[in-house]
Amino acid sequence: MLEALKALSTFFNENSLRTRRNLRSDIERRSLAINEEFLSTFQVVKDQLDSVYSDVKAMSDCCQDMTSRLKAAKVQTHDLINQTTSLHGESQKLQMKQQVADAFLDRFQLKPEEIKSLRGAKSGSLSQDFFQSLARVKQIHTDCKILLRTNHQTAGLEIMESMALHQESAYERLYRWAQNECRTLTSESPEVSPILCQAMLALQDRPVLFKYTLDEFGTARRTAVVRGMIDALTRGGPGGTPRPIELHSHDPLRYVGDMLAWLHQATASEKEYLSTLLKRCETTNETIQDTLGHISEGVCRPFKVRVEQVLVSEQDAVTLYMLNNLLKFYHHTIQQIISPAAALLETITEIQDLSHRMFFNSLTCHANKLLDKVELPPADLGPTASLVQTLALLKDVLQCHDSSVVTLENKKQDFKQILSCVLDPLLQMCSVSASRLNTADMASYMVNCIYQMQSTIALYEFTDTKQEMLQAQVEAHVDTLVNEQAAFVLSRVDLAHIYSTIQQHQPKLGPLANLPGMDPITVKSAMNKFDSYLASPDSLTLSQCSLITSSKNRELIKKNSSELICQSYRQMYTAVCDPQNEYREWTSIVPRTPDQVLALLM
């Protein structure tokens, strides 16, 4: 309302009747004009809207068209897209397959260069690649086994087959190569190349080929060792030093010793070469020992022939024994390198047995000679020349045993045999030569001889049993001498008959003084003689007793015989003093008491 009034105020300026009458028309006119103005203005808008409409319509049509066209295109491309998607998926799958196949091939097939390295160069030499390829072939071959467990059995079998073929040809080549290589190892100190060691390691998978190769090596070394030994024997070292071993063949110990030392060295170095060759392999000790035995077998014959010759031509027991000890020592030493079953050690054992036999032959021969031609005991009842000489031999033998290096048990065994072999015949010889003597001579001679043996063996070990036996023999003969000495004294002073009568006297026979030869006068005169003997006891020493060489035994005989005499005096004294025996003046017959006699004699 306010607005309308404001608008009215703009055109209604004069308030008159006309105007008031005209107002209505004015307002109508004005309204008409405004409407007309409205109309014209909206006419423009309408025109513009119309054009917009037509534009939009055109656009709409255009869009419609496009949409339909798009629809058509979509329909048309749908197949294509489907196709593409499927193709895409397929391509992805294929790609995956390709990767798998590549990996498979990579894993299960050899590369061309590997095959090439397996086939090898024309020159026949072997390289590191070969072993790598060989390892691959082997790897593939084992991997195939996994394949066989899956569904891919055909492939697995085929690959296996081809790998086996590759392997076989590669091993064959390797074997030929190693064989050739081994064949060339015939120098005195061969160089074992690392590649050969590797070849041996690879060949271990084919035990037969491995063994053959090792045999080839053994044969080559065997030849080398034999040649080396012959060289050492006849030519000596390079430039003649050391000098050839055979130059010393006149000296059995040096000759045999040098040969044995050479053998020891050779076996030790051969073991070294062999273990170098097999250092990468896991071989059993048995394989090594077998090969080593094979290598060392060749020298057995030349060695044996030479030593046998030495042994057979050697007569001297001491040298033979030293040789025996030498062989024992080297047997023991070489045994630490090669097994006792090896031909070389067997040969040494054989020779050692031979030397043992020859040694005891020589001793027995010596002993038999002693018994064949028994010497008569010399006048001084001392040991005979042959006894002394044999004991000197025994001493030499035992002496060289002292310096030898054989084991104690061995030594003990030997000693027993040696002692028996020498002493038993010696004792027999003494017995035989003593058998023609009278008792005192015999006993004295035996004591002297046995004493000589005792003192010879006293210095050495393991002689206890023999010592005991000899000592017992000496004691037996010393006892005999004691008895002889006492009997001699008694008979010299005319007491022998008196003593034996008293010993056998029995009360029923009546008083002693009444028996024949027992009257107081006879007894008294005998006792007087005994008294003068007491003044100088040495005057009645048996010559045989003074001929005893050992002062200890001499003293023993003197002491024991004096005791024995005292004892018999005591018996006679008691009998004479006995009133039943009717010696009235017994104090003048036996003026000395047994204790006095004992004091005088001791």
């Binding site: 058998s435 003597l437 006993a443 035996m446 036996m469 017992a472 023999q473 006892d479 024995l564």
Partner: protein, 195 residues
């Protein structure tokens, strides 16, 4: 062929029969440790030659003996007949308490027997000897003969009738040389240290 003294000794010390045993020259020696009443005793045994020519040498070995084994061959009466002369020799040269054991060897040869057991037993009893028949070849009774001797010696020492350390029973006079057969002899067994 002997009566088999060395074979007996060998059988006793080595428990083996020694065929083809050569004649003994002089004396042979053997030892063995045995046990008597819980005591270890070492026997020193002298095997003396039977041949006449060694009489002088072998006599020395009787003297210290604590026991003697006198051996004859049951298949040869001649060896039995010589026993008394050997016995005289043994008695003359040994201590009165020395144990003397009579052995009839080769009891395995029953078929060739020439001396009856009873006859020899009677001889032994008359002379106060111990007696056994044995065989060195089969080993039959060998062990017993030696062990019985050792036991008797041990008993004699225990009751004091045998004193090994005392001087011999006085001065012995040379006995009249008895005729000595080839094949009968003694093995004095001397008792050694007790260990």
């Amino acid at each position: 062929m002997g009566v088999g003294k060395s074979c007996l000794l060998h059988q006793f010390t080595e428990k083996k029969f020694m065929a083809d045993c050569p004649h003994t020259i002089g004396v042979e020696f053997g030892t063995r440790i045995i046990e008597v009443s819980g005591q270890k005793i070492k026997l020193q045994i002298w095997d003396t030659a039977g041949q006449e020519r060694f009489r002088a040498v072998t006599r020395s070995y009787y003297r210290g003996a604590a026991g003697a084994l006198m051996v004859y061959d049951i298949t040869r009466r001649s060896t039995y007949n010589h026993l008394s002369s050997w016995l005289t020799d043994a008695r003359n040269l040994t201590n009165p308490n020395t144990v003397i054991f009579l052995i009839g060897n080769k009891s395995d040869l029953e078929a060739q027997r020439d001396v009856t057991y009873e006859e020899a037993k009677q001889f032994a009893d008359e002379n106060g000897l111990m007696f056994l028949e044995c065989s060195a070849k089969t080993g039959d009774n060998v062990e017993d003969a030696f062990l019985d001797t050792a036991k008797k010696i041990y008993q004699n020492i225990q009751d004091g009738s045998l004193d090994l350390n005392a001087a011999e029973s006085g001065v012995q006079h040379k006995p009249a040389q008895p005729r000595t057969p080839l094949n009968t002899d003694q093995q004095p067994s001397k008792e050694g240290c007790q260990c």
